[in-house]
Subunit: 251 residues, 4 copies
């Protein structure tokens, strides 16, 4: 039986982290999945509802203020979500096309913009939408309201050829850090996760969560478990940043 008071929202749903995080949080909360295209969330929405949970999908573009605002307005009209308050928000959006990993002089300004749009501007819009809602849940929720942002190795390192990806990812990381410093004292837990390695997707639907991953890719279920653990941290011991990598990853 999921919460009848709070819900969670996951922005950016594909076959990997976003889907697994939605599944994990759906064990406790009704979940809203946001993605640009409905194909991205239809399956997992059905999977959650079939399993007795509650989920809806909304097509929205986080990089577009109006689109995102409209999405949050429409949540309140969805059956079963009318009176729910937001208690967890995960930003897992990827740029709308893969930013180029190539020699700097072959890049176009558009490549940079794609990275900044998806990684930074979308996060900015999303944070502006969810933080006022999370603040409202501080007093009523047992677990501290939480905003988690998915990062990558490039969040802390400008590797050769990764210039525009790293620019976007590092900006998102520092923006998240700034939000943690501003909203932590108000009771909202803001955390950043550095995913350092390839993610094992698409994963078999019935795979046991703790199956070995012989090739050393991150299980998205394992990522989701750590996100859930961030959400359940006591307010006296918040983690601002975790790294997550396969046991055999070179780092």
């Amino acid at each position: 039986m999921v919460s009848n008071k709070f819900f969670a929202v996951v922005a950016g749903v594909g076959p990997g982290t976003g889907r697994s995080v939605a599944l994990r949080f759906s064990e406790f909360y009704p979940v809203v999945l946001l993605a640009r295209r409905s194909e991205s969330y239809n399956d997992v929405v059905a999977q959650i509802n079939d399993a007795g949970g509650k989920a809806i999908g909304i097509s929205a573009d986080a990089t577009d203020e109006a689109s995102l605002a409209s999405a949050f307005t429409s949540i309140k009209k969805e059956k079963g979500f009318e009176n729910l308050q937001l208690v967890a928000a995960i930003y897992n959006v990827r740029p709308n096309s893969r930013p180029s990993r190539k020699p700097f002089l072959e890049l176009k300004l558009e490549d940079l913009d794609i990275s900044l749009n998806g990684n930074v501007r979308g996060l900015f819009n999303f944070a502006q939408s969810v933080l006022p809602q999370l603040l409202k849940s501080v007093d009523s929720s047992h677990l501290p309201p939480t905003l988690i942002v998915t990062g990558a190795t490039a969040s802390i390192r400008g590797s050769k050829l990764w210039s525009v990806i790293a620019a976007g990812k590092s900006a998102a990381r520092i923006l998240t850090q700034s939000l943690a410093r501003e909203f932590g004292p108000a009771g909202v837990h803001v955390a950043h996760a550095i995913i350092d390695g390839g993610i094992d997707v698409p994963d078999a639907e019935h795979a046991a969560r703790n199956d070995a991953t012989p090739d050393g890719k991150l299980s998205p279920y394992a990522i989701a478990e750590s996100y859930w653990n961030l959400h359940t941290q006591h307010k006296s011991a918040f983690t601002q940043e975790i790294d997550l990598r396969p046991f055999n990853e070179h780092f």
Copy 2:
């Protein structure tokens, strides 16, 4: 019913983190508590055994190779521990006297040595004792064998007046990082926790774990919960380092 195959060891037990970590891990494993003085562990050993768990305390000085080796030898002779394998080891030792926080020119070389002994040399000895044991448990344990080291703000920052403490803490952090890179690929999870804030000790014995901490000190139970979550991470998604701080801590 605790494991009849694996045990955990906690080095450095006082009224704070060490005690709470021992309590948390005792829910699943028999636990060995190491401290220089038996007064440090007697109460919590009794508390665990009274609650139906299994615990023993051994007086040992981690900074003394022989003392530590003797402690590990004696574990194997303890009733109920004869055939157990080590699956989790936590290094939470403090220097045997509080290293001085004072102007650099008022410090003595002894102040530095106290910090290096407790923070670095003790960890070195402890890691040399536990890593061979943890390696032996890799294939048989469902959860990856784990070594966790307790750090502090000084682990990453040489603040004014904290010179000798920071020297010891930063050395321990980097040593731990090096071990993570060497033993992760062999299946052992090595993690470091930066405790950034004051710890709420002594805590009331019956305090509920999620009680609010109005004054903003870290609940040792909350720290223990995050240590347990590190231990239960899937091997495809190990965290090498977490920070833990009260929601309202300035950082």
Copy 3:
């Protein structure tokens, strides 16, 4: 007598760092100053030419690809610059209006865009313009061709209320780091400077360079000296990042 083979370009000229860097580099090279408005560079261009150096100013907006391309084309038509090669480029551009330092929920997306434009997109365009020119000078210049980017405390820290400034500054830092890794091996020195403190501007035109700064603000002449020292580093010992702060700055 300044170089008759190489020139330097400084993008972003105001009363502080840009002006002082132009003056310092003008002791050895003809200098091109780029700024959005001619008022920003007229005085220092005159000062350099009056002192027997060679300088020109060009109005350009680094955030506009076409404007920047046009600026670099026009340099080649300037008397005395026809045959010069670029050997040093400094990116010191500030966003075209001060990004707001205020509570996150009072910010607009435009505030973020102002920061990303000036700090990241302008740098991207500038780097794309200057790096091909710097590469051409690798074999002929005694001193390694150099690109230096001015950063700030916010480049490495997302402080409370500094979210959008930090997002732009950190992205510029990591972009610069990525360029260092790509262009270093080709012989171009790419460096980033973290200016951690207030800058002492406007400074008296005739102030001796080593005047005491009783109030603890960075002398822009001192910054310029460190930039010059970066440019003159031997290719076997490049610095990728320096911090610069007043002796009495809290950090």
Copy 4:
């Protein structure tokens, strides 16, 4: 003509950085070279004196408080040094035997101690000896009195197999950082240099300073130049940490 008011001291002199730093600083100051064995400094002392500079060598072990104290006492009795004040101190000591780079479980506690002794305890003693002297020169020296500590890649990274070296180096770095925060406001410039790469030693005695280094090793002369530039920084713009690496170093 070297200074008749101030002198510099270099602790740790071999064929690389220490020798070159002594040569560079000897252009302006009488220089004292400290090393465990006189063979380490005899040649460079002669070279400086032959070239018209002034230098003495003293056999001392920085890890031994008494030996170091005795060395500083004896400086005051040396002809020409009786009335000089200390204005620059460089700590470049290596552990007295190369700490082992090998699998952690093959290391002995002695390996750790060798690293801690040379990297941390020696620095502690050296800093306690020189800081009171540097403080006395704050008001009379044109250039801010300076303490520079030589670090390495291991100062910021615990690589696999480098555990004990990294432990010592990281502790020295954080200790230096703490000193910078304490003594900067008093006017003493404390800086740390991360040497990231192999050093080109032994170098030909008459090699031109800017000779190309085709194999990508750091020229010790180039390191010395950057140390000198640190010493000459204006007190309004101190650098606390620089990295130095060959143009083609992978990082």
